[in-house]
């Protein structure tokens, strides 16, 4: 039996609830879970002050309600599964290294910052800084997957060093800024200044996008490895068509202000 957590009192200010994580609740009874410490703004509170808790803590947690002001859900998670019904706040799955978080609605900013493994699926839109490094930090997401079926904001994959960020819709500006490695796939439109400062890694879009002058056109070809990623996304429910699997892509190398080993790939039919 999974742990069932349902919001009964909406927080008035952001509620920091990193206790909503399989690693923190496993083995606990619902009453024990309800006593776990959360921060309502700068005040200490109990989880039960805001959530009705039922079931027993095991590797699966189901959370319901309008969670837009609930932050840090699943932070530090190493295993298990979190299923969320309702919009969720920022810092979802911060630093996770395993397990899966699935949101059946929109998510806020900072989804999966500096994550090291596992998978986060957002069946809706997400905010800025998806899979990014925190300000002042030099490395963002290292491994794992973040899949967003809708649109996202700016600076996704900021300084990411590995893993996959896939966006079903559009992304904002500065996708993959300061990227070190890894893969970003945007099935929709990219914003401006894509890949600024990237050292290595791949940023793929199914549409042309503005290219910084520090990127150089290389060729139009079929990068076979991309099939693995697109087939993977197809399996996760993203809309990938056969032509994209087999198609050719315009490749740009950059960013020349850095190592120049990154690539932008734009679907060319």
């Amino acid at each position: 039996m999974s742990l069932h957590v349902s919001l009964h009192t909406s927080p008035e200010v952001p509620l920091e609830a990193e206790v909503l994580c399989p690693d923190r609740v496993q083995g606990l009874h619902s009453a024990e879970v309800a006593k776990l410490l959360v921060y309502h703004g700068n005040e200490k509170a109990a989880l039960g002050d805001f959530f009705k808790v039922s079931g027993k803590g095991d590797p699966e947690i189901r959370i319901e309600g309008n969670l837009k002001l609930v932050k840090h859900i699943g932070a530090g998670m190493t295993h298990g599964r979190i299923e969320i019904e309702g919009p969720v706040g920022s810092h979802l799955g911060a630093g996770i290294s395993g397990g899966e978080i699935r949101v059946h609605a929109d998510a806020g900013d900072w989804v999966g910052p500096e994550m090291k493994g596992g998978r986060i699926l957002i069946e809706g839109n997400a905010g800025h800084m998806v899979g990014s490094a925190y300000r002042g930090s030099t490395v963002g997401m290292r491994e794992g997957e973040i899949i967003v079926t809708g649109n996202v904001g700016n600076e996704i994959g900021n300084a990411m060093r590995g893993g996959l960020i896939a966006i079903g819709g559009d992304s904002g500006d500065f996708a993959g800024v300061n990227m070190r490695a890894g893969t970003i796939i945007v099935l929709g439109q990219l914003g401006i200044r894509t890949g600024a400062g990237m050292k290595r890694g791949s940023i793929v879009s199914m549409h042309e996008a503005p290219v910084l002058p520090t990127f150089t056109y290389a060729c139009t070809y079929h990068p076979l490895y991309l099939r693995f990623y697109l087939l993977h996304l197809l399996g996760l429910g993203l809309k990938v068509v056969e032509a994209q699997l087999r198609g050719r892509y315009r490749r740009y190398s950059g960013d020349a202000v850095e190592l120049n080993r990154g690539e932008l790939l734009f679907y060319a039919g």
Binding site: E143, T183, R200, P223, L224, Y225, R227, Y229, L231, L245
Partner: protein
Amino acid sequence: MQIHSTQLVDTFAEAFKMWGARVIITGETSGWALAAARSMTGFATSVIGCKCEAGIERELSPEQTPDRRPGASVLLFAMDKEGLSKRLVERIGQCVMTCPTTACYNGLDTETTVVVGGQLRYFGDGFQASKKLAGRRLWRIPVMDGEFLVDERFGVQPAVGGGNLLVVGEDIRATLEATQAAVRAMREVEGVILPFPDGIVRSGSKVGSKYKSLMASTNVGYCPSLRGIAQATNLEDNAHCVLEIVIDGLDLAAVEEAMRRGIQAAAGAGIKQISAGNYGGNLGQFKIELHRLAQDRPVAA
């Protein structure tokens, strides 16, 4: 034991422990995938002279390959995993990476793996790049038609080599027809290859030679032209041709199944005997008894 008009000799094939790998090659067309597969499995008939034994296991449809392109599955065997690792790097590097449009993937899910793409990547001269998805690392090596994509690691596993059948016939025509029929039937079995030309070998060998530098020499007892010259012959008076089929497999069960099918397909008119080569049971780890196979009973290792 008789199968149709053919005597199944009460003997056994002596097979050996080897290490095996499965390599999936894909290409823009099945023709290019097969071109690479044929190149990779060339000069790989016997570990004695070629350091490995290899063959095309089967062709693959796009639905059966990791990148949804047409492909071919190749099995490669060597005496130990270190040797297998070297042969994989050599043959994938020289025969697959060189072939237009191809890519090369691991086809075995095993605990033991060897680094292949992780060595070949240096051909990229610093421009190679890797991608890691769902725990699998692929290397992208820039080449003149785009990129050569290859798995970093390939699975290897203990395997069985040297399963064999000796088909003793009245003449070359009947013996060829029977062995070719056997080869067709044996190739239906997954997990085996027949490493010799079109699956058939005429130069069966025995251990040792009068020449000290040779570790193997012609199988005198089965050479019809040496009847009356050699000290002993294994041939009946009206047997004038012998052809051998050698079988390597990823496990003993696959080798046995291939031999079982081969016996049934080869037996018939024009074939006097079906036998097998062994060394008295002193060298190989597996004894595959022909009578047990024909009776459809499991054969003990």
